[in-house]
């Protein structure tokens, strides 16, 4: 189990990490999610031992790591740009960590073959890394990090530079690989879909500190503040006065779950709306776009109040149409 306590890193005046604490338990896939510049990569480099923290401590199963050099930590790291050795073949890259560990030649060969099989590149041993496609390079980098059976695998935006279709397929394969082999994983990304799809637990980072921590479900259901809500793509953030389970807003009243009362900011998740005759909210459809499984609508519910919603039942109202909406109380999140 990895334990990080109050890790702080400064680059001159700028604070890259501000007292970050987190744990990764054995066999768990933890995703660190945050926009660029939030300190994710720095956190990874500190844990890997490539960057010394200004203060704070790191330990593995209770043993302090602070005096252990990067090459002695036994962690695997897959770099964002892969960092494949250009002067070595695929097998040469994958075998590198095994040779460093002093494994015998024939056992290295076996292990390389096994790991290349895992990542879906059987028989690629003698290829030169310069001639591989982006997706293949990604897989070689993954195989190289996996080969020495690291006690924890860390991945820095591993699918960031691939196209969308490839990305979705690989995220699924990665999840399967981690679970199947029980690999303790720390996964850094700026893409919430990736994090939701992969992780057992998510840590959301903002400006060098942890903004929220929880299972994907918890984070999605109950973002802790306006910033996290917006970062997760929830744009319906409104002021309301709550009395006895009913929220009063500038554009109407609707029921909410939970015991809150008084003045609050609310988030209404876009999947919480239904077009229904008995609804309490009225508005005019401003834009409508087809998104595959559902329609994305923007409804003007009052002066300056634009609600974003996903509607999947038919008939879908057209632009300019006046609609009556009801809101699922479970889809309303009370902030603060």
């Amino acid at each position: 189990m990895l334990e990080a306590t109050n890790l702080t890193v400064r680059f001159g005046e700028k604070i890259a990490l501000d007292a970050v604490s987190l744990t990764v338990t054995d066999g768990e896939v933890l995703a660190v999610l945050g926009p660029s510049g939030s300190g994710k990569t720095t956190l990874l480099r500190v844990i890997a031992g490539l960057q010394a923290p200004g203060s704070g401590s790191l330990s593995w199963d209770g043993q302090p790591l602070d005096q252990v050099a990067a090459h002695e930590r036994g962690f695997g790291l897959m770099f964002q740009d892969y960092a494949l050795f250009p002067h070595r073949t695929v097998a040469g890259n994958v075998a590198f960590g095994l040779r460093m560990a002093g494994m015998a030649g024939d056992r290295i060969e076996e292990r390389v073959a096994v790991v290349l099989d895992w990542v879906g590149l059987p028989g690629y041993q003698d290829r030169s890394v310069g001639n591989l496609s982006g997706g293949e390079q990604q897989r070689v980098a993954l195989a190289r990090a996996l080969a020495p059976a690291p006690r924890m695998l860390m991945l820095d935006e591993p699918v960031g530079s691939l196209d969308r279709g490839m990305r979705e397929r690989l995220v699924g394969e990665l999840r399967q690989l981690f679970v199947e082999h029980g690999i303790t994983t720390l996964y850094v990304t700026h893409d919430q879909e990736e994090a939701f799809g992969l992780a057992d637990r998510i840590v959301i980072m903002k400006d060098g500190s942890v903004a929220q921590e929880g299972t994907p479900e918890q984070v999605w259901r109950q973002p802790v503040g306006e910033w996290v809500a917006r970062f997760l793509g929830f744009d319906n953030i409104i002021d309301a006065t709550i009395t006895e389970g009913v929220a009063q807003t500038s554009f109407g009243r609707f029921g909410i779950a939970g015991p809150a009362s008084g003045s609050h900011r609310l988030v209404i998740r876009p999947d919480g709306f239904t077009v229904a005759a008995g609804g309490t909210i009225q508005g005019t459809v401003v834009t409508r776009s087809f998104r595959g499984g559902h329609y994305q609508l923007a409804v003007e519910a009052g002066p300056g109040v634009l609600l974003e919603m996903e509607i999947d039942e038919h008939p879908v109202p057209a632009v300019g149409e006046v609609v009556t909406l009801s809101i699922d109380p479970e889809a309303v999140v009370v902030l603060d």
């Binding site: 031992g49 490539l50 002695e72 740009d81 960092a83 460093m100």
Partner: protein, 546 residues
């Protein structure tokens, strides 16, 4: 934590060695001699005085030498830029059959020993030259030889940047209504300015410290500061004046280097550079064909003729041709060792110089590339100084300084050490960019995969920089083969190098000696060309800064 301590201590010791060895080498063989020169110029006649400097001011011949040094360098630089610019363009923008061969071929003059260039122009523009004009001891012979020598600097430096300029910028200017000339003046030229400044400062420095060419072609009529230092030392034994001249020259060189680095800092326009392969294309239409082949034809004629004449003269026997001069190289004359011995001496010295330059240079490059501290930045500057300092100053400095603590002045190892000093900046400049281009990520990947620092260097850095080391070694070998300025001070009379032997032969009367000089020059040219071709084979793309 003991497991931690030992590699840390090892790497600390390695770092100290990395600093100490190159630093003491440069300290003893460069800083100390130069300081001694300063000392002799100020304290030469007992007490402290500026008399050596006032002697320079009062002697018209010395004043003339200083003035000539400056204006011929300016003229040579401008002339080289104008003459070589079309070739820079053609090499940058067009692809044509045999391009890489042509590019290698035009580099040959740049690396030719000054003595060979002097000898070739003596054969071409001398009294019995094929053109029938005698330009000996005129400024024209010197200027033409300087252009010949530095042609490749402009083509490679300016053309190197030009090859990466996005042609769409020029196309955009054309679409906005600018004609070809306007486009060149208002778009290409300003973008090329950093490369033009770099090429100009290199050419200016080389011609400012021109020694062999001026010594051979200028006669008593023209001399640079460099030639005067040599003359004051060897002919008049006036060490204080020679020292003062060397100090003045150092001041001049340093101010050029400072001005240039200021300029570089002030204007580094961020440019979107494109791979050369995307920029170059085949010539289209008659105009472009005429341009490309016209420029290539001129280049071939301009660079090829002197060398062809040199080879031709080496084969002249009376009115016919033959190998008599080559055969006679093995025979000793009354005052000289057999000229052929110089070949063996040169090969031996060049091998030793190559080894020294490679070891010291690689250590220094490692320090500069990997340990980015204030110390390594100063070190970078210190290392470049021998390049700016003239070879004659280095030789002169050895002569006045290296008698203490032990008298090294007649030790044979001194010659390769001097050559290594001249070659080290080249080795460093070739290796540092390649070392820096080894991405930090790769080293980090190695570390994360369990490789300790020394293993990372051996497994990741070394294979990637190995070719650069070979190129650096080739440069060092070629430089040592042709080095003349420093060698002319410290080579022992019984162990001359090839350039020294050629210079001695040229100084002797008689057609036989002249033909022998041409034959030795031809051999030296061949050896140099072979080492340069070897470098080209190992060079990857435009690797390195030279």
């Amino acid at each position: 934590m003991t497991e931690q301590d030992s590699p840390n201590r090892r790497s600390r010791i390695a770092r100290i060695a990395l600093i100490a060895i190159p630093l003491s080498f440069l300290g003893y063989f460069f800083v100390y001699p130069v300081a001694s020169i300063l000392g002799i110029s100020l304290f030469g006649e007992g007490g402290f005085s500026f008399s050596a400097f006032s002697a320079i001011a009062s002697r018209p011949s010395l004043r003339a030498a200083i003035w000539f040094t400056v204006w011929q360098a300016v003229a040579s630089t401008l002339l080289t830029l104008v003459v070589a610019m079309p070739a820079a363009y053609v090499f940058a923008r067009f692809s044509f059959p045999g391009k890489s061969f042509f590019r290698a071929a035009i580099t040959v003059p740049f690396v030719l020993p000054t003595v060979v260039v002097g000898a070739a122009y003596l054969a071409l523009l001398g009294p019995n030259g094929p053109l029938g004009i005698d330009l000996r001891q005129t400024i024209w012979a010197i200027l033409i030889a300087h252009v010949f020598y530095n042609y490749a600097v402009v083509v490679r430096t300016v053309g190197g940047l030009w090859a990466h300029l996005d042609p769409r910028l020029e196309e955009a200017a054309r679409m906005l209504g600018a004609g070809r000339w306007r486009t060149f003046r208002e778009v290409s030229l300003p973008l090329l300015r950093p490369a033009i400044a770099a090429a100009s400062s290199i050419v200016f420095l080389f011609t400012f410290t021109s020694f062999g060419v001026v010594l051979i072609l200028g006669g008593f009529e023209y001399s640079t500061i460099e030639v005067e230092i040599w003359r004051q030392t060897t002919a008049f034994l006036d060490l204080p004046v020679a020292g003062a001249l060397a100090v003045l020259q150092l001041v001049g060189i340093s101010s050029i280097l400072v001005a240039y680095s200021r300029y570089q800092e002030r204007r580094s326009v961020e440019q979107q550079l494109r791979p050369a392969i995307e920029v170059a294309r085949r010539p289209r239409g008659r105009r472009e064909f005429a341009l490309v082949w016209g420029v290539l034809g001129f280049t071939g004629l301009f660079l090829g003729t002197p060398l062809a004449v040199l080879v031709g003269r080496s084969l002249r026997v009376g009115d016919g041709y033959g190998f008599d001069a080559y055969r006679s190289l093995g025979k000793a004359t009354a005052t000289l060792v057999p000229p052929a011995e110089a070949i063996g001496n040169s090969a031996l010295f060049a091998t030793a110089a190559m080894a020294i330059a490679l070891i010291v240079g690689t250590m220094a490059a490692t320090l500069i590339a990997y340990h980015r501290t204030a110390v390594s930045r100063w070190f970078d500057v210190l290392l470049m100084l021998p390049l700016g300092t003239s070879a004659v100053t280095i030789g002169f400095g050895f002569l006045v300084a290296l008698d203490t603590p032990i008298d090294l002045r007649t030790a044979p190892i001194l010659v390769p050490i001097a050559h290594a000093l001249v070659a080290i900046p080249f080795v460093v400049r070739t290796e540092v960019p390649v070392m820096r281009s080894v991405r930090t990520r790769l080293r980090e990947a190695g570390a994360v995969l369990g490789a300790p620092p020394g293993r990372v260097w051996r497994e990741i850095d070394l294979p990637l920089i190995f070719r650069a080391m070979l190129v650096g070694a080739g440069f060092a070998f070629a430089i040592s083969l042709g080095e003349f300025g420093a060698t002319s001070f410290i080579a022992r009379p019984d162990a001359p190098t090839l350039p020294v032997a050629i210079f001695r032969l040229l100084g002797r009367a008689g057609a036989a000696n002249f033909t022998q000089a041409m034959a030795l020059s031809t051999i030296l040219m061949g050896l140099t060309a072979i080492s340069i071709l070897a470098i080209e084979r190992f060079r990857i793309g435009d690797m390195g800064e030279f």
